[in-house]
Symmetry: C2
Subunit: 397 residues, 2 copies
């Protein structure tokens, strides 16, 4: 995979351990968006909807994502944001389980995912939709025949803890519920097998490991067995069976196409489409193996250095139990994040004291990881960063 | 306004009468997106959310739109698509009128607007939300105290017929209903006075007269008097009161910010922001006057030419009753549209026999309009285009 580094347009010397927040620019995305600007929008104007297949982008991006998440063709579409797509999927799930009203999630799920459930609950009211959040350790106890769907994340956005999609999906199915998964922190970096795991719906974003650019459109996976009966409530012309017929009455398209609503943002979607091209011919098992090896290597480096002993691992120590990221807590996490950035190493800071590091295997090398550990070691060995933090707190109380 | 032509990156010699479908590329949008690619995403990476104020774009674009539609600051946000924003606005309207369940629209409204109402109706069910569509001539008869909101378009997308926003909004308010307006075909080209007209909610798109690019984010206007009690159901982190606190429970931001849901598509939104910059210092009355004069001039040219006598005006003949577009029907509308495109004049074709012409005053000149009429005259004077049509029909039955 080392050869893929050249496909990225990363600043020289930068060690970017934040690809799990915003994936970097690829040369392909830059070239494509410039082409869309000058040639497609600039010269082709409105004819580019057909001539340059803008209208096909949600589907063609969807098929590229499908190949990365173990989905046979025809089950994934790219559109809107995770939050909006979850609303659609939750509503569709209630429609598929009309005798049930409970959607279950867990306290450690990503907040915006929880908001989607809260929004649907607020709109439909208690008799039609209950939304409950429980500790993940207690989820099993809450699975009963009032549950229409469980909504979980594959990888915990803070700790990186990995959920067993196959096992939880089976548990949900055993009680007749549907299983909805958020793949934001796994699509493009871990082996995901949605078809094999019998997942019902999944969502994910385009701007983390897929490198689609800031706010890139999200995706929705919808298992083929549900295609005939889908009915998500955010109707719009792009989801219509015959989008260009301008019929007065909405009739949903078949399958995931019906998860589209309005006109897609083409500049952003073209960047995503080009970035997804990087995965062509790439073995996802090799990607996952490298991500794991990079993280393990970093952990070894941390253990070997005295100055790093205050870093406390907040991710599972067992690589089998986590995704492609590591979280550490440290009382000076903010100062470390700023200090390292000044030395061209980008970490993610999560208040109040978490450092989060993402090991994107398409552009990171083992040399990058060694260098990051070494720079962190030097930074923590010189104690002056504590004074810097103190000054900051004085200025901004 | 003639000087603004140089701000556009239109192909030389092209006469583009389709800016009401997709506004053309501006030099500012091209330069901005290239900067976002190389400098902001490419080099700044995740820090650009703050450093380059990506996070502010929905609000800053919203304020720029506000200035064009007669809205005092703090009432407009840019996000998502018209279809999705209408769903939010319709749901919020029902929440504001809890004792009512009827949303009224008209058969001539844009289909995707109707779909939004049908989707909400399907989700909530008859007891909670009825959605009815009536002939616009009969709308007044249907206004009674079951109506929660009327949802109408300022300009009919086909005929260009203009609705009297002020008068209809008063009618709605007289029966205690809210008034929701779609400004897709008026924002940026007609004088719109939402505050003065006491409109409750409005939506519009960024890619027509605002020139924001294909699928540019849409906008939502929400009158200040509703800000304290708003509750739209598509909850997401961007609409949270404290987006970066990652709280487990959703609390809406104050005002239009709460109409945001997920992460905005930055490349597309940056293009919109730059394109909106063109309107700075531009007098909207002058824009509307030029649009009207361009259309009147085209009508005069049509009347003066014998070969154009088969074109039948489908827009109101009185300029006071229409927006910045003209529709003509002609039995050979499709062949005309193709033939004119081959001669560098872009019309919009609407099946089965409508030609739609948009008079975007920021980049069109009177010379362009004269030239378009002259070319159309020549095209229709030589009868061979009918054979071309015949051949096409044989090949593609």
């Amino acid at each position: 995979l080392a050869g893929l580094r050249a496909a990225f347009d990363l600043p020289t010397k930068l060690i970017y351990l934040n690809g799990n927040s915003l994936g970097p620019l690829t040369k392909a995305a830059r070239a494509r968006v410039e082409e869309v600007l000058r040639l497609q929008w600039g010269e082709g104007l409105v004819s580019s909807w057909n001539r340059h297949q803008w209208i096909e982008l949600p589907r063609s991006c969807g098929e590229k994502v499908a190949a990365l998440i173990g989905a046979a063709p025809g089950q994934v579409i790219c559109c809107d944001s995770i939050s909006i797509n979850l609303f659609k999927v939750l509503a569709a799930s209630l429609q598929l389980r009309p005798e049930r009203d409970l959607i279950l999630s867990t306290t450690d799920n990503f907040p915006t995912d929880l908001y989607a459930g809260q929004g649907l609950n607020q709109l439909l009211g208690e008799g039609r939709c209950r939304f409950e959040v429980v500790e993940s350790t207690e989820l099993l106890d809450h699975l009963d025949d009032s549950v229409a769907a469980i909504m979980l994340s594959h990888v915990d956005y803070r700790s990186g803890r990995l959920a067993d999609i196959g096992a939880w999906t089976r548990q949900a199915h055993e009680i007749g519920a549907l299983a909805i998964w958020d793949l934001a922190h796994s699509a493009g970096v871990l082996p995901v097998q949605l078809d094999r795991w019998q997942v019902d719906f999944a969502v994910g974003c385009g701007y983390k490991y897929l490198n689609g650019g800031p706010g890139a459109p999200a995706f929705v996976y919808c298992a083929r067995r549900h295609h005939g009966v889908l009915n998500q409530p955010l109707y719009g012309w792009m989801g219509h069976r015959a989008a260009f017929d301008f019929q007065p009455v909405y009739e949903p398209a078949h399958g995931p196409a019906s998860f589209q609503t309005g006109t897609p943002p083409i500049l952003s979607m073209a960047a995503l489409d080009a970035a997804l091209g990087l995965f062509e011919g790439v073995d996802m098992d090799a990607v996952a193996a490298k991500a794991r090896a990079l993280a393990e290597f970093f952990l070894q480096e941390v253990e070997a250095r005295v100055a790093l002993r205050d870093l406390r691992l907040e991710s599972p120590a067992d690589a089998d139990e986590r995704g492609a990221q590591l979280a550490f807590s440290h009382p000076e996490a903010y100062a470390i994040c700023r200090g390292m950035a000044a030395d061209s190493v980008i970490f993610d800071y999560r208040p109040p004291r978490i450092l989060r590091l993402g090991f994107s295997p398409l552009f990171l090398s083992f040399e990058d990881v060694a260098s990051a550990a070494s720079k962190l070691d030097k930074f923590l060995a010189q104690q002056t960063y504590r004074e810097a933090r103190f000054r900051r707190h004085q200025v901004v109380p």
